[in-house]
């Protein structure tokens, strides 16, 4: 088993190196997109699928991560140049690190925020939790728009150094995947699933459900923050409008499609949804050839995805993988 895992890991790494150096930038950008959304969806699935806490906040954490990384890797000179509404705060000008510490910082800031928010968030359950987290995600974006000294407001940040490439995004998605599996297959992961299945019964087993939920929330936020940082460096431009509820919605589709609680499913979901988004581009613009453009249907992709989500909830609520992992299936197969 261990050998197979190592083999898979090395194949994945070799593929990343090959793809980064040999594939055309457009294909690479799609792979990057899949990797980033994969990272975000994997971490989202921990809180939402594994621990069963229906958070709608990932957009907030991704935003935080994106801003922290962007502000850390942007040189002071371009910050002065870019901040149009107000001059940047001194601290913004002073902060500068290289890429890896910036990503780690993104994760840490998001995780610390998750810790602070867990106190109000986990006072409520179920759909109230959903609406409270939705609210926090929204408030974070409003702050990003209004704290112009720190974020340059609604105009966002441009010319972010493009340090990220497929090796970064691919490497981090591998790390995320391994960490998530390690969490799931530990007593903490078991406790998260117990909280999901029946919170009262978990308490009756002596589990401090608040802490278990907070662990899941913080871990999730950490990787969402890192993913946000990668996103900022990859796109080289960020603005509050990129972190609307739409982002959460896309992640939700990925994890529901893959199976709430299944990390392997999430990976496949990310490939299908992000690949599908790119592939379904023709729906939005059947106007590649010049001449007739009346047939453009913006948002048709999103219509397709919304219908897909509804159909899945109605007929295949468990997604592709249910809440099982690929390895669980092998186990069952052997039996």
């Amino acid at each position: 088993m261990k050998i197979i895992k190592l083999l898979m890991l090395s194949v994945a790494i070799l593929f990343l190196i090959f793809a980064q150096n040999n594939l055309d930038p457009y294909t690479v950008s799609i792979l990057n997109n899949i990797a980033i959304f994969g990272i975000l969806a994997l971490s989202y699935n921990l809180i939402n699928g594994v621990a069963g806490q229906f958070s709608l906040e990932p957009n907030g954490f991704v935003a935080i991560g994106a801003y922290v990384t962007a502000l850390l890797i942007l040189p002071a000179s371009s910050k002065i140049d870019m901040f149009a509404l107000e001059d940047p705060a001194p601290i913004i000008l002073a902060m500068h690190t290289s890429f890896l510490p910036a990503l780690l910082m993104s994760g840490i800031v998001a995780a610390v925020l998750a810790f602070i928010l867990s106190i109000p968030v986990f006072r409520v359950r179920g759909d109230y939790l959903a609406i409270v987290t939705l609210g926090f995600g929204f408030i974070i974006r409003i702050f990003a728009m209004n704290q112009t000294k720190y974020t340059n407001g609604a105009m966002g940040l441009n010319d972010i150094p493009d340090n990220a490439n497929l090796l970064w995004t691919g490497g981090i998605i591998i790390v995320t995947f391994i960490v998530m599996l390690n969490v799931i297959y530990s007593k903490y992961g078991r406790a998260m699933k117990a909280v999901r299945d029946d919170e009262d019964a978990a308490t009756a087993m002596g589990i401090n459900t608040f802490w278990i939920k907070t662990y899941a929330f913080m871990t999730s936020a950490f990787f969402e923050g890192v993913g946000g940082g990668l996103m900022a460096s990859l796109l080289t431009t960020i603005s509050p409008d990129q972190f609307t509820f739409l982002l959460t919605f896309q992640l939700l589709i990925i994890i529901v499609l893959g199976g709430l609680g299944s990390m392997s499913g999430t990976l496949i979901g990310a490939v299908l949804v992000m690949g599908g988004t790119e592939w379904l581009r023709f729906l939005d613009q059947n106007m590649d050839i010049f001449g007739y453009n009346t047939g453009a249907h913006p948002g048709l992709r999103m219509v397709v995805f919304s219908i897909l989500l509804i159909i899945m909830m109605l007929f295949a609520r468990r997604g592709i993988f249910g809440n099982k992992e690929l390895t669980d299936m092998f186990k069952r197969g052997k039996k």
């Binding site: 530990s186 007593k187 406790a191 009756a204 087993m205």
Partner: protein, 255 residues
């Protein structure tokens, strides 16, 4: 006395569910709580486990007062419970359900599990072994990898009790353990309960409707009606007690 309830009163929005109740459970006893539905038995369980905070009175467990102690901490002090309508972790296997009970006996931190440090492996191995031993005692070791929701009713009940035992309790609260079981399953269960009671040195407090079961199992019973205690004593005395018959067992004379 391992458990003492003193002057317990519980009110929900003006309605009194339990009214000034006093009783104690001796170490090593099997103590039965009986009474019609809505008499406040499950409420009493929820007070002992910390899920409800009583309006008045104190619960003393092992000479320590339990007021203000959170439900999950009460478990760590040695009180475990099962639920009236079996509440297993449905998405998990039998083994995993039991492992949840061993949560606090696995000694590794969150970071150790993320980094897969040696302590993670050694502890996981240890609790898995113990969990299998426990399952063997209930005769369901072969079901370890089965999903808990696909078990029969009787086996689900066993898993629930095994899971509670995994927390290493001194007092076990069983809420209608024999409900929904046929006579042979019931008998099987009562044997297991007796066995584990001696093996683990447990004290058991149980709620039950099946008088036969209660008769067989309990050293002492308390009959509740409308939150009030109407009888405490041996089960054989309870069935002939007039008040008990009238409130719970049924009125012979009525027509």
């Amino acid at each position: 006395m391992i458990l003492e309830l003193k002057n317990i009163t519980m009110q929900f929005g003006g309605i009194t569910a339990i009214d000034d109740l006093n009783f104690g459970v001796k170490t090593g006893e099997i103590y039965g709580l009986i009474g019609p539905n809505g008499a406040g038995k499950t409420t009493l369980f929820n007070i002992v486990t910390g899920n409800y905070t009583q309006t008045k009175g104190t619960v003393v467990f092992n000479h320590e007062e339990l007021s203000g102690v959170k439900p999950n901490e009460i478990v760590l002090r040695g009180i475990a419970r099962t639920f009236q309508n079996i509440r297993l972790f449905k998405s998990m296997s039998v083994l995993e359900n039991v492992l949840i009970g061993f949560h606090h006996q696995a000694n590794y931190t969150y970071f150790e599990s993320i980094l897969r440090l040696p302590r993670h492996f050694s502890n996981e191995k240890k609790i898995k072994k113990e969990a299998m031993i426990l399952l063997e005692k209930f005769g369901i070791a072969d079901l370890a990898d089965t999903n808990s929701s696909s078990l029969s009713y009787g086996n689900q009940r066993k898993v629930e009790i095994a899971r509670a035992l995994a927390t290493n309790p001194r007092l076990l609260l069983l809420d209608e353990p024999a409900a929904g079981m046929n006579p042979s399953e019931t008998e099987d269960l009562s044997n297991i309960i007796k066995k584990i009671k001696t093996e683990f040195g447990l004290t058991i407090l149980l709620i039950e409707h099946d008088m036969k079961f209660v008769n067989q199992m309990c050293d002492k019973v308390l009959v509740l009606d409308y939150g009030e205690q109407i009888f405490e004593g041996k089960p054989s005395d309870a069935i002939v007690d007039e008040k008990v018959v009238a409130a719970y067992l049924g009125d012979f004379e009525h027509a």
